[in-house]
Amino acid sequence: MKTDKDKKPLQTKKILGRIGTIVFAIICALYMYPVVMVILNSLKVESAIQTSRAFEFPTAESFSGLENYGKAINSQGFLKSFGYSLFITASSVFLILLCCSMFAWYITRRKGIFSKIMYLLCAFSMVVPFQMVMFTLSQTADRLNIFGLRFNTPWTICFIYLGFGAGLAVFLFSGFIRSIPIEIEEAALIDGCNPLQVFFKVVFPILRPTMISVGILETMWVWNDYLLPTLVLDIKKYRTIPMLIQYFRGSYGKVEMGPMMASIVLTILPVILIYLLGQKHIIKGVMSGSVKG
């Protein structure tokens, strides 16, 4: 028989649940507010943005259609910057996924003092703030010259990103690899694989869900990164999108708000798209069923 005492916790739970919903809705609104503001203002004429009408919905008179977008794309070499950003992001994320998954596999499966130290170093690198190393790093990147290979171009900056992204990626990958039963790899060894085949034919496909989540995290970071490319790249020659947006600030303190808002929207669009597409592929439990019942 249910007494009042039994019912009480259930009711409190319900109330707590509702309070939670409200709190998170408020937090969500706070987070979304700037994004919505940017989208709204990207559709307004310049004069409407600069005044107090910035917080209003666009009216017939302040609505500018896609004019700002046109301006954004045509001015300042937006497409070129977009290309640089795309290349840097793609090459960096590819390198991070490939190298870090292999490295994480190695240090997880090979027990020893070397593996332990490497793992701890990776974990430690996540704690070190970028600002602490940025000066020495940009100096090194400027001066380093390995057989003519320099690291201050968009084509090679991915190696620097690999270094910075490795900590988190290795940490996440090794956590997942530890959950893969070692028997699967031993079975592959017996079935005729060499270690490289074990990795690419067995471990790599099993790692897919982690690959996607690490990939999304690293993509968002590299795509939106402002500081590292500003420090390392030659600003006059190469501008990534976050750098470019800064250049909508004219030299005399005049800021072209409309095109700036529009290019911000264009910038966040791919990341959101990738996230939405990737989310579908993050299948939990790909592993379930491979071992035991």
């Binding site: 028997e183 592959a188 060894l189 017996i190 790909v286 592993m287 069923g289």
Partner: protein, 403 residues
């Protein structure tokens, strides 16, 4: 098909830094260092030692023993997944110590099946052939053939997670046999299945062995599996081989007390007894009885020239009868029934004899109604067994005295 020779195989797991620290820490607290009796040397823990075995072509060998006895380690050394610390391993006359697993022409079935979760069943079975770069038509044909042998033809397009335990086990076996390996290694393949499925799969493995000409090496901790499957059984304990023999041999003539107790369910009963010499005739002294030993035992003991000897008498539960007997070769004792378990055709009695628990198996068909009525808890009854059925072990060395 292959002959496998294991010569003086030894495996030492080196101490890792942390475990050494842990053992130091433990010693301070005066705790026992290790639960198992594995030998620990300066180099590390000795998991397997002085392992000698010649496995014949097409033989079904079962390695059996309690957990931690080194049976899986031995199998993994044959597979090449563990390095051999000392000794030599030959497959078909070739030294295999340093050969990679993939070049040994072996296949292995794991306890956890170890199927590749991202591949379909067809791709799983075909995997070893794909790696070998066998032509596609041949792969298909061989996969179909293997699937047919195991009755999994209609599962080929599914993924491992959609399969039940028994089906997965079949797929794992399929992946192993599709390569037609020289040796098929199985590491407790039935442990994850339920009792009914296990019996069924056991029979299938026997059939499979008849059908494909391959040497089987099978590891299990279940002595029933070992007895039913093996051409020969290797019984291990604490890294040492205790006995190698056919199921009949190890059952009828266990080499030591461990084997006697390990093989057979319910377990063999052991009694402390004494052998004494009087006028060139050896007698068994047990429970205030004195029984002359048979000529065979007499002769054997005469060679050792001992006068008295503490022994352990082993007797299987089904060789103990109820009630007194006139036969002078029958040893008698009294026991109090603690638990009587009705199994249908037989009854298992757990009796207390001088504060030690013993087991008796009574065939219901062999006893009268009157006797059956007596088999109740707390009843004190007379039991007896014929000396010809009993096993004599030296109490000191724990080795078998008879032939």
């Amino acid at each position: 098909m292959a002959k496998v020779i294991l010569k003086d195989i030894k495996k030492i797991y080196p101490h890792s830094g942390s475990s050494r620290k842990r053992s130091l820490f433990k010693r301070k607290k005066n705790e026992p260092e290790k639960k198992s009796n594995l030998q620990i040397t300066d180099q590390g823990v000795v998991a397997v030692q002085s392992f000698n075995l010649a496995i014949e072509d097409n033989e079904f060998i079962v390695l059996v023993g309690p957990s931690g006895c080194g049976k899986s380690t031995t199998l993994r050394m044959i597979a090449g997944l563990e390095e051999i610390t000392e000794g030599e391993l030959y497959i078909d006359g070739e030294l295999m110590n340093k050969v990679e697993p993939k070049d040994r022409d072996i296949a292995m079935v794991f306890q956890s099946y170890a199927l590749y979760p991202h591949l379909t069943i067809r791709q799983n079975i075909a995997f070893p052939l794909t790696i070998e770069k066998v032509p596609k038509d041949e792969i298909n044909q061989r996969v179909e053939q293997a699937a047919e042998i195991l009755g999994i033809t209609d599962l080929l397009e599914r993924r491992p997670k959609a399969l039940s335990g028994g089906q997965r086990q079949r797929v794992a076996i399929g992946r192993a046999i599709v390569r037609e390996p020289k040796i098929l290694l199985m590491d407790e393949p039935l442990s994850n299945l339920d009792a009914k499925l296990r019996t069924q799969m056991r029979a299938e493995i026997i059939k499979l062995h008849r059908r494909i000409d391959t040497t089987f090496v099978y590891v299990t901790h279940d002595q029933v599996e070992a007895m039913t499957l093996g051409d020969r059984i290797v019984i291990m304990k604490d890294g040492f081989v205790q006995q190698v023999g056919t199921p009949q041999e190890v059952f009828n003539r266990p080499r030591n007390i461990f084997v006697a107790g390990f093989i057979g369910t319910p377990q063999m009963n052991f009694f402390d007894a004494k052998i004494i010499l009087e006028h060139k005739q050896y007698y068994l002294e047990f429970n205030k009885q004195k029984i002359a030993l048979t000529d065979e035992l007499n002769e054997k003991l005469a060679k050792t020239s001992v006068d008295t000897m503490d022994i352990i008498l082993g007797i299987r539960p089904n060789h103990i009868q109820i009630g007194a007997s006139d036969d002078d070769q029958v040893v008698e004792f009294e026991g109090k029934i603690e638990v009587a378990e009705m199994m249908g055709t037989e009854m298992h009695l757990h009796i207390l004899v001088e504060d030690e628990e013993k087991t008796v198996v009574v065939q219901i068909a062999d006893i009268s109604e009157e006797q059956l009525a007596q088999l109740k808890e707390d009843n004190i009854l007379k039991f007896g067994f014929d000396l010809s059925h009993s096993h004599f072990f030296d109490a000191e060395t724990e080795l078998r005295i008879q032939k």
